[in-house]
Symmetry: none
DNA sequence: GTGGTCTAGACCACT
DNA sequence: GTGGTCTAGACCACT
């Protein structure tokens, strides 16, 4: 993953979304330990405090549990909950785009075309990223 | 229009997008004057400086021209240009949502369903808003 | 108010309790603005980030609302809610003391005496503080 | 005994208070050996280092003496001293609760009621715990 | 090593 | 001036 420093979305929110997605996708299972605050900070080239804040948001949402001196753990009811909130975030982004399109009087058909193109692009980019290494 | 104070998108950016959409939609035509900074600030319940900043962004993008002591005007090549950048903004939002969905391993079909629902909701909300007044 | 830096209770929690008490006591009424992050930080001789965190906790609890560029405000249903949570905090402290006393086999009567003494001391200290200036 | 991981009071302090209470209550008499660091760590599901630190605090307070290769012993003047410091801890908790209540303008009568309820609850909980096994 | 709190200081959006 | 995010760096409790 890489942080988009130019985005208006706060870095810690980006991390929350990323970890939430990992749990929703089953990359991390309930009970498993997550990357430590410091390790993830190194990986994302971000200050540990920022990762800490992301983890605290996730803990407040009940997706993870922290144990002092041990680490962060995926909690039990996480996957279901993570899937739901990820889907909500997806819909929020789509709705935002649709609102912009409506204001510009973009026809629904055109928006659908733009959406399909975005899906195709994302899938292609993903394939390329997977082929590279 | 209403400003979403809770959004991560800065208010001035929301205003830019709104005006850009108005031009793209032909609500404002080339040569026409735009609402004054003060009027728009009152309407959006926002500080005039914030509107000012939005107009500056639009001017930098070449969509509007300011004439001292007279007001802001939609520039000539605006509609075409506005349509393009609005569409780019739409696609950016969609791509962001798709990225979140991919990370959460949401199937493409599911994303399409979410998209359709978002379109339907937006259209319904719009109709209701138009019927009300 | 003064922060107890030696306490195990985090500084931001102490601030939360303090503001919550102010609202419960009616020192700040719904709609009123609270001391700004920076001003309170100066007053308590604490880093602004720490005050910020306290305010964010209060906002999450629905006791205050923040408005960018304007300030922090006491929310409407605050006083009732603040009174309840302050009372809960009071009971938690009492219960903690009672647990320690039980372990040490301190008779209930003795605990009651200790409690009365603490009440008397607190009231006396308060009077002296009020008389001084 | 059980450790409250959620409490702001450090685990080692909770252990200190617990042992101190045991001595004050006469559960451990002067000259008696205390549970070994390892045994207590196992019982409390805590790292031995944490128990070690608690014992060090108790030794510094003169309540226990360590004899290399043998174990920890309750010192002679312990019970009296333990009772005093337990009572001080009890009063500190009460005072803390009272301070919170005062800030929230809770009437003294109300605090007394809260205290009585806490006492009753603690006594009931204790009875239930004793009945269970 | 791992989570949690705090400070000093910077920069941004908004009023 | 006011809230909000972020970094660099320190110190604490716990494993």
């Amino acid at each position: 993953m890489s942080i988009n420093a130019a985005s208006h979305i706060p870095v810690y929110e980006q991390i929350v979304e990323y970890i939430r997605g990992s749990i929703a996708a089953g990359i991390h299972h309930p009970g498993e330990t997550l990357p430590s605050v410091r390790m993830l900070a190194l990986e994302l080239v971000v200050n540990p405090n920022t990762v800490q804040r992301a983890y605290q948001e996730l803990e407040r949402a009940g997706l993870v549990r922290s144990r002092k001196g041990v680490g962060m753990f995926v909690s039990e009811q996480s996957p279901e909950s993570a899937r739901n909130s990820s889907e909500t975030a997806v819909q929020a982004s789509f709705s935002q785009g649709i609102a912009i399109g409506k204001r510009a009087d973009l026809p629904t058909d055109r928006m659908r075309t733009v959406f399909d193109k975005a899906i195709t692009d994302a899938t292609r980019d993903q394939r390329q990223a997977e082929d590279k290494p």
